[in-house]
Amino acid sequence: MALEGLLSVLNFETALWIIVGVVIGIIFGSIPGLTSTMGVALCLPLTFSMSPLNGIAMLIALYVGGTSGGLISAILLKIPGTPSSVATTFDGVPMAEKGEAGKALGVGILYSFIGTIFSIVALIFVAPTIAKFALKFGPYEYFAVCIFALTLIGSMVGNNLLKGMLSAVMGITFSLFGIAAIGGARRFTFGFEELQGGFQLLPVMIGLFAVAEILKVGATGLEGENFKTISCKIKGFGITIKEFKDQSINMIRSALIGIGIGILPGIGGATSNLVAYSVAKQQSKNPEKFGTGCIDGIIASETSNNSSIGGSLIPLLTLGIPGDTVTAMILGGLTLHGIAPGPLLFQTSGTLVYGIFSAFLIATIVMLVVEYAGIRIFVKVLSAPKYILMPMILLLCVVGTYGTNRNMFDIWTALIFGVLGYFLYKFNVPQAPMILGFVLGPTIEQNLIRGLMYSNNSFFAFFKSPIAGTVLVFTIAVILYTAFKEFRKAFAASKRMNANYDGQ
């Protein structure tokens, strides 16, 4: 069956649709404002006239290209192309500023490839087992996992824990705007009908990164800016064998985080890149290097976000449950072609399933080749003078933000969050905790309320679940450890200041 599946995609037509899907995906992923979700949504109608395998192969190729493409603008423009590449900016941008854009891109592309391969292996060999385990997750477990992910902001807050915590709390609060998913209460609508739907992730992200960036350029101007083309020297993928060996633990850990988070519906790549980055920083012998342009951060972010692709396909194919918006649209594509995903899919349409796995694998290889071959082109295009490039990017952000829901309110949301993002930058408030809080906020709330419903308002019931209890205890330990570390840091700083004062 596996061989038949592989042979079914080894023809010119399927290969062509995979290449087209990957290229469109990379274009959508690399342009801020246009995401893989939008790419899949816009290309879904194109697949109606195709055979089921070709249609699904193209959508999966779009997903692979779109998720990986986000790293290009994250490194070259400081603006993540997709929410999955937010953490790539932390070290990608400093590397590009040091003249190592080629190396950053090469490493990002290679580890996007490796991350996807990890997830394909998981998808093929352990999908049913993992899916069964994920089914055991109820509200207690979801709440515990999300709260644990939030505690990881400790490593993203920079020098000021208060500002980092405030940023995360602001993110969660903004995610609560609109009508409550449980109970239907109106929250923070202030009489505006448009606010009933709350804020969407894409406009918030476009605002915090792209709009804030153009406001920054407007405020500081570009006088004295160096308009030379970004250096693109690269040998191989920009990583030595020794570096590759040193990064193996980071790579495996990030891939497992990506697969694990990808499986859980509603979380996905937007969270996994930030979580993997934080864990890599916490576990590193040299955490101070993170954020200054080290490959560890890019490897963590890009391995995890791409391995979330296979992760999110596991519940889709084995249980018929989509993990995120893209897989929800792929589910639509499967249904339109008369395929019902679920436990029986492997028995009733085994050849098709293995055909999809093979298409996924080929798309990953195509992604590696296209992105690697295109490095110089990306660098050249994105090296255009900022006074030309930034307004163009903003124009495309408007198209992407408007095009997703055809809603003007989303564009205004981007502007409002752009102003907020500018001031956050100006006063050194980190944005990553806000993004993480915004992504996790609705999942935390819904599962907390559901859990309290099950337990008659007793929070202690959360600790009675073995999985949730263990994760929550671990979370408390992480919070206490972070607080202790911060206290020690603050104590040492005040001692240093007193010594300086006495010296004067």
Partner: protein, 155 residues
């Protein structure tokens, strides 16, 4: 304005925002829920926001800022870009994506182009790009992806 003063004003605005949301949260109804309702998290989170922002404000008053300052930032530059963006969004529906984008692109490029790069040739390039790019983007999205952007006057 000195960095510390500006930073304190920003911190105070965050306190005010937190207070506004906290007050607004008190008016949220529970909704149809058996346990905690849709009001629980907004009340909790806005309370935490208010608490942390007050601590942050007080900490900012006590500690002299050692953080790096972007001294080159000009309020006039920030405001002109912000107003331009707001006008662009206001005009997007009435006059359409293509015309509004043409105006936005040209003015934005003129606003941020460095003095040393200003020349007739540069402005010619800006004009060509401002006309060509919105038409191309609109055409691609309409014809390839069936996504119709606001047409406005060109309907």
């Amino acid at each position: 304005m000195k960095k510390d003063m500006a930073s304190n004003i920003f911190n105070f605005i965050l306190v005010m925002l937190g207070a506004t949301l906290f007050i607004a949260a008190q008016g949220i109804e529970t909704g149809a829920a058996m346990a905690q309702g849709g009001d629980f998290m907004p009340k909790l989170l806005s309370g935490i926001w208010l608490g942390i922002s007050i601590l942050n404000f007080l900490y900012g008053l006590k500690i002299k800022s050692e953080e790096k300052v972007d001294a080159s930032a000009k309020l006039s530059g920030f405001l002109s870009t912000l107003i331009l963006l707001a006008v662009y969004l206001v005009l997007l529906r009435p006059i359409g994506f293509v015309l509004a984008s043409m105006g936005y692109l040209f003015i934005q490029m003129c606003l941020i182009v460095p003095t040393g790069k200003k020349s007739k040739r540069t402005y010619g390039l800006f004009a060509a790009l401002s006309i060509g790019v919105p038409i191309a983007v609109s055409w691609i999205f309409a014809n390839v992806f069936s996504l119709i952007l606001p047409m406005g006057l060109l309907r």
